[in-house]
């Protein structure tokens, strides 16, 4: 229920720069996911949206109103904190009820709302306990329940599922998406989990070192990575990035040769190819090397091929087996090749 615009946001503590040049325009009702390695500034950005941290520079606008000088308690956001931040002296019930009391929700609605939120995170049996008597995952769910118990303008969720087992995480993920759609609440969500990011997000924001690397839909991020960082961050296993030379439309690296590439570029380039776009053997192979490792996972087999000094990941069929050091060839799907400038890492069109 709110549009959030971050313009030229900088955040530094003395010499430490946590966040730089952040520009995001989050649409009303949008589900935005921040994805990036540890320490890249996700939590800091979120705290600035919440009003818990003042940006050193830049503007935060919500629904047309400049929020920079508005106190956290006067911004209508609900946040799930990375460290849960449950009130230790209150029971889980009182924890979940706290925002209702503070925001002046009529008393007769409290019980129903608290129970609904607890049900949602499957914690109804633990309402009488204090946070200290819960497991990490239960605490995390209590923190989630406290955030969703009321209907704020904005949800901010900092890795709300990081401590749950795979099954519960999957269930919670579906639930979060469902209430976000149902209540139409603008949501900013931080995660380390790519699957979570891809499945939940309307748009993904990839950050590194305090700066945004790319903003786009999950499809755009996956299919059109803006640079080598994004390309190597998304996908599992990540995209193969092969440094080599491009001359007259032919790319060469030890053990690898790809012809018929655009002739616009030349010189030192990095070729990117995802493991799922590689085929073992094939008609006219682009790579010849030796088998370095074979990892059957059940539904497919991860094959690592060594070409020159470079290790290339390939997703092979589930039947594929090969012994170590056996010569092997790989064909790339030429329509799914990416070229990057080796020095800047930027994508070449």
């Amino acid at each position: 229920m709110a549009r959030i615009e971050l313009t030229e946001i900088q955040k530094s503590w003395g010499a430490v720069q946590g966040v730089r040049d952040v520009n995001i325009d989050i649409a009303d009702e949008e589900f935005i996911v921040f994805l990036g390695p540890s320490g890249c500034g996700k939590t800091t950005t979120m705290r600035m949206i919440a009003g818990l941290e003042d940006p050193s520079e830049g503007r935060i606008v919500m629904d047309g109103e400049v929020m920079n000088d508005i106190d956290a308690r006067d911004r209508d956001v609900a946040m799930v904190f990375q460290g849960y931040a449950l009130y230790p002296n209150m029971t889980i019930y009182e924890n979940i009820r706290f925002p209702l009391r503070m925001r002046g929700v009529p008393r007769d609605q409290h019980d129903a709302k608290v129970r609904r939120a607890a049900e949602f995170v499957e914690l109804t049996d633990y309402l009488d306990r204090k946070p200290g008597a819960l497991s990490g995952g239960q605490r995390q769910r209590a923190a989630l329940a406290r955030a969703i118990v009321r209907q704020p303008q904005v949800f901010l969720m900092d890795e709300p599922l990081s401590n749950l087992d795979a099954k519960l995480r999957q269930a919670m993920r579906v639930q979060i998406k469902h209430i976000q759609r149902e209540l139409k609440i603008t949501t900013v969500y931080v995660t380390h989990d790519q699957i979570e990011a891809m499945t939940l997000a309307d748009r993904i924001v990839i950050m590194e070192n305090g700066a945004i690397q790319q903003i786009g839909t999950p499809d755009q991020i996956y299919n059109d990575p803006a640079n080598t960082f994004v390309a190597s961050f998304i996908g599992s296993p990540p995209m193969n990035l092969i440094e080599g030379k491009l001359e007259n439309g032919a790319f060469r690296a030890p053990g690898i040769e790809v012809a018929n590439l655009p002739t616009r570029h030349s010189g030192a380039v990095t070729l990117g190819i995802r493991p799922e776009d590689c085929t073992v053997a094939g008609g006219s192979p682009h790579l010849s090397g030796t088998v370095y490792g074979v990892e059957p996972t059940g539904d497919l087999t991860y094959l690592t091929v060594k070409a020159g000094e470079k290790l290339i990941e390939v997703k092979a069929s589930r039947e594929y087996r090969a012994s170590m050091n056996k010569p092997e060839t790989v064909t790339f799907d030429l329509s799914r090749l990416y070229l990057f400038d080796t020095t800047t890492g930027q994508r070449l069109s």
């Binding site: 705290r47 818990l52 609900a78 904190f81 460290g83 009130y87 925002p99 503070m102 925001r103």
Partner: protein
Amino acid sequence: MTSQRKKAKGESLTLRYLILGGWALFCLAPVLWFLSIGLRPRTEIITAQPIYFPSFSLDAWHMIWEDWPMAAYLRNSIAAIIGSVIIDLVLAIPAAYSLSRFSYKGRDDIGFYILSTRMMAPAIVAVPIFFLFRNFGLLDTIWALMLIYAAINLSFVTWIIRSYMLDIPKELEDAAKTDGAGEIRILWEIIIPAVLPGIITASVIAMIFAINEFLFTLLIASTPDAYTMSVALSNFTGGSDGVIYNAIALVAFLAFVPVFLVVVAIQKHLSRGLTMGALKG
């Protein structure tokens, strides 16, 4: 084999209790001795011959309640101590919150300054304090005692509570803020409950200091209007009757019992509080 081990374990437990019991007896011996002196006739206490079967007497008991205004002393002590602890908490909690949460210029200096009030000998300020209270017409009142006890204890009460507050993660307050709570609410509903063990610890230590305070009480109190137990003790010495040992012992014991009970009741908090307060800040 297992029964043997069980037996050995039982034995070691008995041994442990024996040792601890012996130690407790050793520590409590002076207290029990006090009590026994307090409950014997006066003649039996000052005799030179050892007495193997002491006789029991409530002479001292009657004396302190009937001949002396012991009830008033007790009331004065309790009122002055409780009042001083309340004053301390009302002042120390906001001060500690400010010192632990907000950063402002000179904060650490203020913190050190508060602590430094404990560093000088109290006698240095005795005379100025006497004149101060005289000018305010507070001499020989329990209000003066409340104020002076509160002043003596304020610094370390603030310090202990502050060290507890430093342990509260900042995220907790951030969460309360985003949930819509104001500063006063946060202090009252989040911070104070979280530092309650520290508040209890600080209060008990303040009580113990206050109950033992002698110098300033003697200075301020001159009639039973303001005499406390600690000063009353000195009333049983001197005078035409000489030193009345059994009454002294009984009063000392009576002063000891409430503190002892409070400490036992909260000892779990206390030991944690003492070490934490010692290690932090």
